[in-house]
């Protein structure tokens, strides 16, 4: 059952610029060299946070040692340098998402912050009593709770797109949820708990046929598949840098300029104003209207470097290799006796949620850790998903492009040990 020598595996796709050299890629990630409990680390918790490659680490150090000052403020050299790097990163992200304009790319603290920004800036301004918001059964809590808060405040209602037993959304039911009260849709691109890739392009078209704006939570999608916000035609898209080999504390809200312009600012403060008197404040133009206060400048620049890195590896190469990892892991783990897979949608990102019969996921996680295997165990901030599948929690292995087939084998060995201990 041992994997073929995957370190020598070279896959390439026509759309990519360079062949995919796994050994070379792994050499870029210093953290992958550590051992845990005397075993080589198999980091399979990428859906929670991905690791940072050396070029991103180097960029952070370079910025902090040679370029740092506050941005958009002073006329001195360092401030100009920092501002140029910060805004340069925004342009990289614009290209990465294929956004029409730079000003449609707003820096946030992360996906959660981006969703909250839209809830405050759009929801609180334009939704009222009895209006309805559609979310899906597969949402992360961060795409549920802000909307619930809005419902509580404004008297709106939350409507939920159900999913089937494989973890695929029921699109007929989605269509039926629309009525004259529907004012907003917020759906995830990829389920964090199950890996389901939702057909967001079709879902966006459905919402638009009803004249309803739609936000797509791309936290689990942006690191793994090509995101083209113009082709998708979503009104809002958000993701976090740290799941994309970038730093924590920074994320992106993409929004169509037409919406962003009408929205109210989320937070008030410096940098988001044109002029302030005690009588009246005039807000700054996009994107600064939504970027109050000094942002995490280094993190934003780090995200720019991460986007460069991902683009150099090639998102198509990434998707192709992760697909192989998923297929191999699904065969190996899914084929084990006494292991139940949760989430078996046809279109999946490289996420494997599973339970070992008779063993609580936390025991699974602790014992896998002894084997050097890092997986997430728990409800994955998606309790409605757990409820739908009748489990309190699952163990989740989530892969990145730097993972190997041997690490899948290590996971399987770990699960065998769990089963043996609890036999």
């Amino acid at each position: 059952m041992n994997a073929a020598t995957s370190l020598k595996t070279v896959v390439g796709s026509a759309a990519s610029t360079a062949p995919f050299d796994l050994a070379r890629i792994r050499a870029d990630f210093p953290i992958l060299e550590i051992t845990v409990n005397g075993k080589p680390l198999a980091y399979l918790d990428n859906a929670a946070s991905a690791q940072m490659p050396q070029p991103v680490l180097d960029r952070l150090v370079q910025y902090q040692t040679r370029e740092h000052a506050n941005i958009h403020r002073a006329v001195h050299y360092l401030s100009e340098t920092a501002t140029a790097a910060y805004e340069g990163a925004r342009r990289k992200i614009q290209r990465f998402l294929n956004a029409r304009e730079e000003r449609e790319v707003i820096y946030t603290r992360g996906t959660t912050d981006a969703i909250n920004l839209v809830m405050h800036g759009y929801g609180r301004a334009f939704l009222g009593k009895d209006d309805e918001i559609i979310v899906s059964q597969l949402e992360h809590h961060s795409n549920i709770v802000p909307w619930q808060m809005l419902c509580q405040e404004k008297g709106c209602k939350l409507r939920v797109i159900p999913c089937d037993d494989t973890g695929e959304l029921l699109l007929d039911e989605y269509e039926k949820l629309f009525n004259a009260h529907t004012k907003f849709v917020a759906v995830t691109h990829v389920s964090n708990a199950l890996g389901t890739v939702n057909p967001v392009k079709a879902m966006i078209a459905t919402a638009h046929r009803r004249g309803v704006p739609i936000l797509v939570d791309g936290a689990q999608a942006a690191p793994h598949l090509r995101v083209d916000v113009q082709d998708m035609d979503c009104d809002f898209y958000c993701f976090s840098a740290h799941k994309l080999c970038g730093p924590t504390g920074i994320g992106i809200l993409y929004g169509k300029a037409a919406y962003l312009e009408r929205m109210q600012p989320y937070q008030g403060g410096g940098d988001m104003i044109l002029s302030v008197t005690f009588e009246k404040t005039t807000y700054n133009a996009l994107p600064y209207k939504f970027e109050a206060g000094t942002p995490p400048i280094a993190a934003a620049i780090g995200l720019g470097a991460a986007v460069d890195y991902i683009s150099d590896v090639g998102i198509e190469n990434i998707a192709a290799w992760e697909h192989q990892l998923l297929r191999y892991a699904t065969e190996q783990v899914g084929g084990m006796r006494g292991v139940r897979m949760i989430g078996t949608a046809k279109e999946k990102a490289a996420v494997l949620s599973f339970n070992v019969d008779g063993v609580h996921p936390h025991d699974v996680g602790t014992i896998l850790n002894e084997e050097g295997v890092a997986v997430r165990t728990g409800h994955h901030c998606a309790q409605p998903v757990m409820l739908r599948f009748g489990v309190p929690a699952t163990a989740r292995a989530s892969f990145a492009f730097y993972n190997t087939l041997e690490e899948v084998d290590q996971l399987v060995t770990g699960i065998r040990r769990v089963q043996k201990m609890f036999a």
Partner: protein, 162 residues
């Protein structure tokens, strides 16, 4: 630490065959314990007579650490006075949070010291403590406890032993 140390035979055995499993009819005290982070959920019923725990039972859904801890707790406090049980609650909590070194300091934990390994697994401390926290709540007639927020046993233990 090695999980072999934590998942010792005695723990695996109590997980497989939990003692005092179920609900006591005519219980004088009861409480529900919840660890929302991992979904550990248990119900504890007690019969207390004249300051003595005459009967105790538990049921619920939980990980092995929590279930074995609950099972061994019931066998250890059955027949004890409330005061002795409360002392065990204190000592168990201190052991699990690394405040009590069972090898070096006097204590009444006996075989319960198999759980001392959780102190090195901060994410699992709450699993082991939850039954004890629930027992404390039942004795004090607070009928539900959570491992989170103000009732966080780890936070409480740290607050008491800064």
């Amino acid at each position: 630490m090695d999980s072999k140390q934590l998942y010792q035979e005695v723990i695996l055995d109590h997980n497989k065959k939990p003692r005092n499993w179920g609900k006591l009819e005519g219980a004088s005290h009861h409480a529900e314990g919840l660890n929302p982070l991992c979904g550990d959920h248990l119900w504890l019923t007690l019969k207390v007579n004249d300051g003595h725990i005459d009967g105790i039972a538990f049921e619920g859904q939980s990980c092995a650490i929590c279930k074995a801890s609950a099972s061994m707790m019931t066998t250890n406090v059955k027949g004890k006075t409330i005061d002795d049980a409360e002392q065990l609650v204190r000592e168990f909590r201190e052991m699990a949070t690394g405040k009590l070194d069972v090898a070096a300091q006097p204590n009444h934990l006996g075989r319960l010291s198999v759980f001392s390994g959780v102190k090195d697994l901060p994410s699992r401390v709450k699993c082991a403590i939850l039954p004890w926290h629930t027992l404390h709540a039942a004795i004090h007639e607070a009928n539900s406890v959570s491992t989170e927020g103000e009732q966080d046993p780890v936070a409480v233990a740290y607050a008491k032993n800064p």
